[in-house]
Symmetry: C2
Subunit: 557 residues, 2 copies
């Protein structure tokens, strides 16, 4: 059985992805607008109906064998239970299925695997709208964001991982005729280089970006010859379930073992993650989530041959020092704080401002005025009935609401209070506007914690240089995925680059307009650097793929 | 200060190395014959005199500051003390020097670093003969091997690491103009991608291949922007000392901080390795040596951000099943057992033979006859006065001699006894011929240990298929760097490839003539696979370089 025709069919897709990836250019294989013109006029309605049909029903994986009992207790942050029951699989069954499928998968060439994986993605992309609604109703993202984050953006990140894996495996020839001249004679050897996957990958999904954060590790593993088990977060199963059901259908229809990509579903009460991670055949683990559990995984793999890729908690920072257009800057920051109620791993938490104020073309604006203006900008967005609720979405869990209460009770001055937000059509939605507090150097312990959710702190610093140093120190100690700076002076910008590159964080300067610090673009922005306490993985650098396989040489006369 | 001219000067060297590396072709930038025609008619004599001048003297590093006291107690395995004293450096001094130099080194571009590093290698290559004699008289290698292993072969491995690092850093653009079309508008960002080295590299050298095993990690670290501290083995300091003295001279002459490449020298009595490895600024560690110490390092780095690259002990295996020319096969194996008295990490230890004998064009040759013929082939080489002593060299340490005695005392049948070998001109040389023992399934515990030195075991197996399985199982459990098989049947060869790729070992089939299983060719043979208990590193795959840096993005309108 050859799959070369699939490679041929998708070669232009792969080549365009590799090209963009190499050159870090804008590239979107799947367009981000949830538009009828692109995806078909009936696609949205069909997606909604598909989502509704899944509610109060049993979700099946006809191609994944060995289930025992059912599991599932998802609840929409917009205020209703999904009542979907999924088949449960034990660790033993998952491992046995995976090991069997690995025999087949690892024998394929990288080009065959690339063709097959792109085919899987293309077919699953027909479900973008259903995936979008199910993301909305498991994570709390507004629909547009759910569509983009779990659909085109996540699928492009998968394609990026395929492209990087392909680049890595393509870096060295897979065979060679080696001729060593030795004076009047020579030695001839035929050589082959076999890619040996590490084994079974376990990807541990998170509750807020169930697809976007899982696909990179899954597809980096798959392109390099590993099979994968995607462990969904108990509160966000459906989006990945739709994808994996589709992937398995595609694999089966191609005559391949559908267990190359498996789903593992557990509950808060009976978690399966550690039992899986401990299995000796699990050789790579991708994890997105709390630092506490991440550290537990680090201990688990210590001294073993397992490779662990992490994205843990961090404290993202911004510094507003010098601006050309204060309104545009604060509009931009306000939107980034509101987007999905600050529940992105890339959302700014700590905003540093020189205590002497911000330099603008209109003169210096004081710290307090900056706080007030940011409050007004957030108000304007929150109270914009057309834009506000959809941008905010809902809180993915009551724990976020409790965190807001805890922050309010911290004793810090409230610059902007968080209030309930109504979401049309969803009376029981758990939706809140951003809380902005004022902190200073006396509140180090508070601001150096991650306050995941719509909670941010305005913090005065002595001056811009001090602010840069404070940011760099915070990132070295507490980790971060993003750092945003508003500066004009090239000397100060260079100073920031020096210190923040050293601290190991991705840097954004002077963002205004429709581009926000929380956004990370596939093929162009490496997501995560792997260089600070927020995690060791970067989507998708060479280390992200090359740690998943080894090369075994064979030589013969 | 720009170093672009050095890149231009060495561009063809780098390009040829990258080309060979990609295509896994034969390539030797530095020719391996220690020939006057290549290296100059007086080069050998000058090298010998340089080596002699170093004896009974103080060896200085004029460009490495902060030494306190002296250290050094090398003893030639050919029977005399070197009496060389070296400056000693404390961990604190080494780290302070390294951190200071890192500020300069990490700012250079990869092309600048490549040019500088190749210049360092080119200038140091003028010392190949002195390096060869000092390798002979620290490791016990015969002169030719000392010259090749520490000279051209090691320098080519360094160039290979530079080439792989260059390939990795060249895989993605270092800047981009990103334009996202958004309907009637667009977003434009300028992006830069900064290579952030992990920090300071510590390369822990071994006693048998002080340069060959150290250069890959050192140069992979250097090309990716890290500075390096090479910790020499207390019994094999001089070869690396000559190189690093030269490197530092080159760096200083270019106006660079010579501490970019430092040497660290300790003694058996006062080891420095752990004190260095524990330093927080040491972020990558390359290690070649015993499994016991390797495991200690693994514990030390567990849960930290340090990356550890290891080559530990293993049990290399061979299987003689079917041959076309038994004499040629046994000549080849005999040579590989004798070469440097079996003190290569790649030397075969366990030789499996079907108990029914080996299939040859002359009929089946019994297990016992194979043992006898191999003994005769080893005898013929050992007792060849012209070839024998130089091939065997000397035992790098009395511990190897004790190991031979221990093996003799194991109660196994002696096929070939080890005897003293005289080395002309070196009456006190510690030189011994190979010991060959017969083991069987009752002696699993013995043969599954590594017996580093001129000790090997002939082991009967049920049949060829069983032999393949026994090898694969042994490698999975005990690790190996090499597996040699003599087979003709393509079905059996495929079976071997399947099982041994899975076991994660490099495979050689049917070697005869001047190519031996212990040889691993730079640019073509990945040395080590990283996929079995013998170590996690492979010279020089993408993982070997990409784990030494991170990429930090910067974007601005």
């Amino acid at each position: 059985m050859s799959f070369h025709h699939l490679f041929e069919q998708h070669a232009s897709t792969l080549n365009a992805a590799v090209e963009a990836n190499r050159n870090r250019l804008f590239h979107a294989h799947w367009p981000e607008p949830p538009s009828g013109k692109i995806y078909g006029e009936t696609a949205q309605e069909e997606g909604l109906q598909a989502f509704k049909a899944a509610l109060n029903n049993a979700f099946d994986f006809p191609h994944q064998k060995g289930s025992e009992g059912t599991v599932g207790a998802e609840h929409s942050p917009f205020g209703f239970p999904l009542n979907i029951s999924y088949p449960a699989y034990s660790a033993d069954v998952l491992i046995a299925n995976a090991n069997e499928s690995l025999k087949q998968w690892k024998k394929l060439t990288v080009t065959e695997r690339a063709g097959i994986l792109i085919e899987c993605l293309e077919r699953a992309s027909k479900h973008f709208f259903a995936i979008g609604f199910s993301t909305m109703h498991t994570t709390g993202q507004g629909f547009i964001m759910g569509f983009q984050a779990s659909g085109p953006h996540a699928f492009d990140r998968a394609l990026e991982s395929i492209a990087t894996g392909y680049m890595a495996l393509d870096a060295f020839a897979s065979s060679a005729h080696w001729t060593k001249p030795m004076g009047k004679m020579q030695v001839d050897l035929k050589k082959e280089y076999h890619v040996r996957p590490k084994g079974i990958n376990l990807t541990i999904g998170c509750s807020t970006f169930p697809i976007w954060n899982s696909f990179p590790g899954m597809f980096a593993s798959l392109i390099t010859g590993n099979v994968t088990i995607a462990k969904t977060h108990p509160s966000a199963i459906l989006p990945l379930a739709i994808c994996i059901q589709s992937f398995q259908e595609t694999l089966a229809s191609l005559g391949l073992d559908p267990h190359i990509i498996q789903i593992a579903i557990d509950s808060q009460e009976k978690p399966l993650t550690l039992a899986l991670a401990e299995q000796k055949d699990i050789q790579t683990i991708d994890y997105t989530g709390s630092s506490a559990f991440g550290n537990q995984l680090e201990k688990l793999i210590a001294g073993s041959t397992k490779e662990l890729f992490t994205e843990k908690a961090g404290v993202n920072c911004a510094l507003i020092g010098e601006v050309n257009n204060l309104d545009a800057v604060l509009d931009n920051i306000a939107f980034s704080l509101c987007l999905y109620s600050g529940q992105m791993c890339t959302t700014t938490q700590n905003i540093y401002v020189p205590k002497s104020g911000v330099i603008t073309p209109e003169g210096i604006i004081s710290f307090d005025d900056i706080c007030l203006k940011l409050k007004e900008k957030v108000d304007a967005l929150v109270f914009n009935e057309k834009m506000g609720p959809g941008t905010l979405g809902a809180l993915h869990s009551p724990a976020v609401k409790s965190r807001i209460e805890k922050a309010k009770a911290s004793g810090l001055i409230i610059i902007r209070d968080s209030e309930s937000v109504s979401q049309q059509g969803f009376d029981n939605a758990l939706s809140c506007s951003p809380l902005i507090l004022k902190a200073d150097s006396a509140h180090q312990e508070i601001v150096h914690e991650e306050w995941f959710g719509p909670i941010s702190f305005m913090i005065p610093v002595e001056d811009i240089s001090t602010g840069i140093k404070v940011m760099a120190d915070s990132i070295k100690q507490h980790g971060a995925l993003t750092a945003l700076l508003h500066l004009n002076d090239e000397g100060l910008m260079n100073q920031a680059v020096d210190q923040l590159v050293d601290a190991g964080v991705n840097i954004s300067f002077n963002l205004v307009g429709p581009i926000w610090v929380n956004q990370s673009a596939g093929f162009s922005d490496f997501h995560g650097t792997g260089a600070n306490p927020a995690g060791n993985a970067s989507f998708a650098d060479l280390s992200f793929v090359s740690r998943r396989y080894n090369i075994i040489g064979m030589r013969r006369p």
